[in-house]
């Protein structure tokens, strides 16, 4: 019995032992590594070129290199490159960035703040090396050390010369037409239907005894569209003060509200009716987009303004506002420089100022010669752009690329 038991035990061991060995070989990473041959190291990158980054304020070096022969070819085991930097060729090297396989260049940008740990001082020597990495962290290849290189800032961004020329020409045109306007020249400016309708809309509100709702949009006080909107608000408020109509200006941004309050107050004073100005005409609502829409829609439906004017920066709320205004039966005039919102306003409003017309509106409303002069310059610049586009179109079709190259702007 004992002998039989021992035989059975031996048999079990004989069967179980190979299985157990196989299990161990699969589970243990150590055994696995021992079983798999170490993959060969890829070739390192070569011909590393270093230069100070062009047209910047310093604190930056641009690297370029020829990729590893095993990047996309050969062993095809390269997954990326690590950029390492040191203050001496001996090191210590610090990893600065990682770039994917196939990359030929990298811009190493350091901080310009001395207090920052990433601060990159100008006018000192830096050395770089590039490590070619594979999926196996133990297998990589280091390039030779390249350098020294120094970073430094440039005084002028040569990549933006075409923009400077254009701005200079535009400035000269503006000054020329302003001077002409000062000299008493009669400058014709094309009529803007939307702006022409403002007076009519204010008159309608006066007749109906209902207020005018002026929405400055969701822009901040730093947005040009909002600044343009202030100028229109100033004109509208002055008319409103003259006609003694009500004005409601709900604001999305506290700074915009503060400026709008001053603008309306000054317009009332200009109209000779400072006593008619009320503090609650211009008020802050909220800085939440849809909560603001809910509040303004509520005002539209409760107060039923005769006219709604939307001027400034608008986003998804544009159609919700304009459709509610249309349902409330108000005359609506809108203007925005947000291209995606223009169609919504065109559909839902009676008059729409498209893009640049918003900026032209204040000059057009005021009819001041100085402002009209700048509008005239804008029209001439537009004609210039059309001409350049036509010439470019023709030359490109005849295979002349030089003209296009002249307008290339780099960062």
């Amino acid at each position: 019995m004992k002998r039989q038991f021992l035989l059975l035990l031996l048999l079990c061991f004989a069967v179980a032992a190979p299985l157990a060995t196989a299990q161990t070989a699969e589970d243990s990473p150590l055994s696995g590594e021992a079983a798999v041959a170490v993959s060969p190291a890829p070739g390192p990158v070569s011909n590393i070129q270093l230069k100070d980054t062009d047209n910047d304020h310093g604190h930056s070096v641009t690297l370029s290199w020829e990729i590893s022969p095993d990047d996309g070819a050969g062993l095809n085991n390269v997954i990326g490159y690590e950029i390492h930097r040191a203050l001496s060729p001996e090191g210590p090297f610090v990893k600065r960035a990682g770039v994917p396989a196939g990359s030929h260049s990298h811009v190493d940008v350091g901080s310009k703040e001395e207090s920052s740990p990433d601060y990159m001082k100008d006018y000192i020597d830096y050395y770089y090396k590039i490590r070619t990495i594979t999926a196996d962290s133990a297998v990589n290849a280091e390039s030779t050390v390249a350098g020294p290189i120094q970073s430094y800032g440039q005084w002028f961004n040569t990549g933006r010369v075409p923009v400077l020329i254009f701005v200079a020409c535009f400035l000269a045109l503006t000054l020329y037409f302003i001077n002409r306007a000062k000299g008493g020249a009669d400058l014709y400016v094309r009529p803007l239907a939307g702006i022409g309708a403002v007076d009519e809309a204010i008159g309608r509100a006066t007749e109906m005894g209902k207020p005018i709702l002026y929405v400055l949009g969701l822009g901040t006080a730093a947005d040009i569209a909002t600044i343009a909107s202030y100028t229109i608000l100033g004109r509208v408020a002055k008319k409103v003060a003259e006609y003694q109509t009500g004005l409601i200006v709900p604001c999305y941004d506290p700074i915009v509200m503060t400026v709008a309050q001053e603008t309306v107050k000054a317009s009332y004073a200009d109209a000779g009716r400072p006593d008619s100005y009320k503090e609650d005409m211009v008020y802050f609502v909220t800085q939440s987009q849809f909560a603001y829409v809910a509040a303004v829609n509520g005002t539209m439906l409760r107060d039923l303004p005769a006219t709604n004017i939307y001027m400034g920066k608008f986003y998804a709320e544009s159609l919700i506002l304009a459709e509610t205004g249309a349902l409330a039966g108000s005359i609506q005039i809108a203007g925005t420089d947000e291209i995606a919102q223009i169609p919504f306003f065109v559909v839902a409003c009676d008059y729409t100022l498209i893009g640049e017309e918003l900026y032209a509106a204040s000059a057009y409303l005021g009819r001041e010669p100085l402002l009209l002069g700048s509008l005239k310059a804008q029209d001439y610049a537009k004609a210039g752009v059309i001409l350049i586009a036509l010439v470019g179109f023709i030359l490109l079709n005849f295979g002349v690329d030089g003209f296009k190259e002249f307008f290339f702007v780099s960062n």
Binding site: W155, F170, T174, E262, V285, R302, I339, L375
Partner: protein
């Protein structure tokens, strides 16, 4: 003087910001001016909150028309403010993050503020439908062209558009509705958009120059210096 100083500041800051585009050493000053704006913006939040309380407080005090809405506004404002400032029911106590899961602030945000905002946004779908109905009525030549273009684009973005014109041979593939929709979006539509963009860019430059040169002062309420 009251109006000269803002004009001088505007001209100075505007000039520096323009120079910072072309002269890298001036970039730093441009960034500093932007930081000044952020600092002022922080103080403006107090102005906004103060204005909100004053306007709605007055309405409630005077029992003005619709003063009930003002009461709801102020109740919501103070409840959110208290929940955030005192971290009411915050699981981690006063030292933990105000947006920690389970805090009253986060619950108010997740279960009241967010659904209300989403509801307002959802209204957009209905407004798009009603606006489209009005816009796409073929009242004249232009509206008819708009209607046809919109119909092709809408159809081109649906499986029906693909199936309806799949039989058109490959050499006339532009006539397949999805391809036609892509062409409308990338050729006439994009050309129109670019024209508007160029106009806007010129308008921005012109407006900026007017502000920098001090020609445009209407935002200061200056008709009479």
């Amino acid at each position: 003087m009251k109006r000269k100083i803002p004009v001088i500041i505007t001209s100075l800051v505007g000039t520096v910001l323009i120079l910072s585009v072309f002269f890298p050493p001036a970039e730093r000053m441009g960034e500093d001016f932007s930081i000044f704006f952020d600092i002022i913006a922080v103080f403006a939040f107090f102005l906004g909150g103060g204005n909100l309380v004053r306007i709605h407080g007055n309405k409630i005090y005077k029992k003005a028309r619709d003063w009930g809405f003002s009461a709801v506004t102020l109740a919501g404002f103070f409840l959110m403010l208290a929940a955030g400032l005192f971290k009411i029911a915050n699981p981690g106590g006063i030292a933990a993050d105000v947006t920690a899961q389970g805090s009253l602030f986060q619950m108010l945000y997740d279960w009241i503020f967010n659904p209300l905002g989403a509801s307002m946004y959802a209204l957009l779908a209905f407004y798009v439908a009603s606006a489209s109905y009005r816009a796409f009525r073929a009242k004249n030549k232009e509206a008819t062209i708009l209607l046809i273009a919109a119909f092709i684009i809408l159809l081109g973005r649906t499986p029906l558009g693909v199936y309806a014109t799949a039989w058109i041979p490959e050499q006339f593939s532009l006539m397949q509705i999805p391809n036609l929709a892509i062409w409308i979006m990338t050729a006439p539509n994009l050309a129109g958009q670019r024209a508007i963009m160029i106009g806007i860019a010129l308008g921005v430059i012109s407006m900026s120059l007017r502000l920098i040169l001090g020609v445009e002062r209407t935002y200061l309420g200056t008709d009479n210096e």
